[in-house]
């Protein structure tokens, strides 16, 4: 673990690095084609990176989620997605179903063990 001031500096650097894209978009607006190949590639990279992040948090989480069963986390994802699609893409139905399943599964495990 780093000390607090380092964490704040890192946070500010990340804020600036995120702003870069927003600011560049303002400055280059009208002068650059948003459909260029370079840009397509960067947005694919962003998508895959976030996919990697979520996979990591779900499969090999640190902290609190690390104390739960992998199978429960994976099934909760499946339940959330199926409920979301059945409810015609309603995010709340998906989230509530997934979380409810996850808590229920955790409870069943405490009773059985």
């Amino acid at each position: 673990m780093r000390d607090a001031s380092e964490l704040w500096l890192l946070l500010l650097a990340c804020g600036a690095a995120t702003y870069l894209w927003r600011g560049l978009g303002v400055l280059l607006s009208g002068r650059i084609n948003p459909q260029s190949a370079m840009f397509e590639w960067v947005s694919c990279v962003a998508y895959a990176l976030v996919a990697g992040l979520i996979a990591r948090i779900i499969v090999i989480p640190s902290g609190l989620l690390g104390q739960t069963a992998l199978m429960d986390r994976l099934l909760a994802c499946a339940v959330a997605f199926i409920a979301y699609r059945l409810a015609r893409r309603n995010m709340f139905v998906g989230l509530i179903s997934g979380v409810a399943f996850f808590i229920g599964a955790g409870y069943v495990r405490t009773v059985i063990v």
Partner: protein
Amino acid sequence: MIPQHRRAFGIGAREALGVPAAVLGAGFLGYGSLAADAGYSIWMTLAATFAIWALPGQLVLMEMQAGDAAVAATVLAVSLSAARFFPMTLTLMPVMRDGGSKRPIWQFLLAAQLVSMTTWAVAMRRFNDPDLKDLESRWHYFLGFSAVCIGSAALFAMIGQLLLVALPPLARYGLALLTPLYFFVTLVGEAQSRSAFTALVCGAATALALHTVAPGWSLLGAGFIGGTAAFLLQRKHARRV
């Protein structure tokens, strides 16, 4: 503010207050709980929300910080996760500025910090409507809409942070899973094309495979390998059509 502008600000704020603020709120409720679990102070959670204002980037930062990843790798990964903002502001600015806005550019540079997936999508759709024809109304609508979105995110992040400590263990686990679930559903739901699906699968597989070898670099690896694979597939497909 002249009454017409105050009205546009109010319309923006009201329209954000329904589903947009609630969906964002759910994502940030989970974020707050993960932040508490990662040892963030409430100030750090709020600062990350305001300074980055992009949930994926905030999660990348938290995840890589927890794994003690290299500073350069962390900043690069957070930045890349936000690359979608570039085409977003690129396409938003013409509809907010062109046609003789008297506002100086620095105001637009400040407003760019407010851009998020939600605010962008709604602005692009709403700015075609007759009640938001003039640029000043659009400006105030955008500020009103964004203010409620950021306010809701900050509020729910704080609630999530406080709730995590107060809840019984099982409910705590449920709260901590909220944001990962939110992203899982969004990502899988969005992966309509074959290339998006490739990015999803390759990104996830690379992140997990690299985790054992080089955890600090696994997210960047996932982005570069999964993203490039998806990009090449997309190109190949586009050429054939």
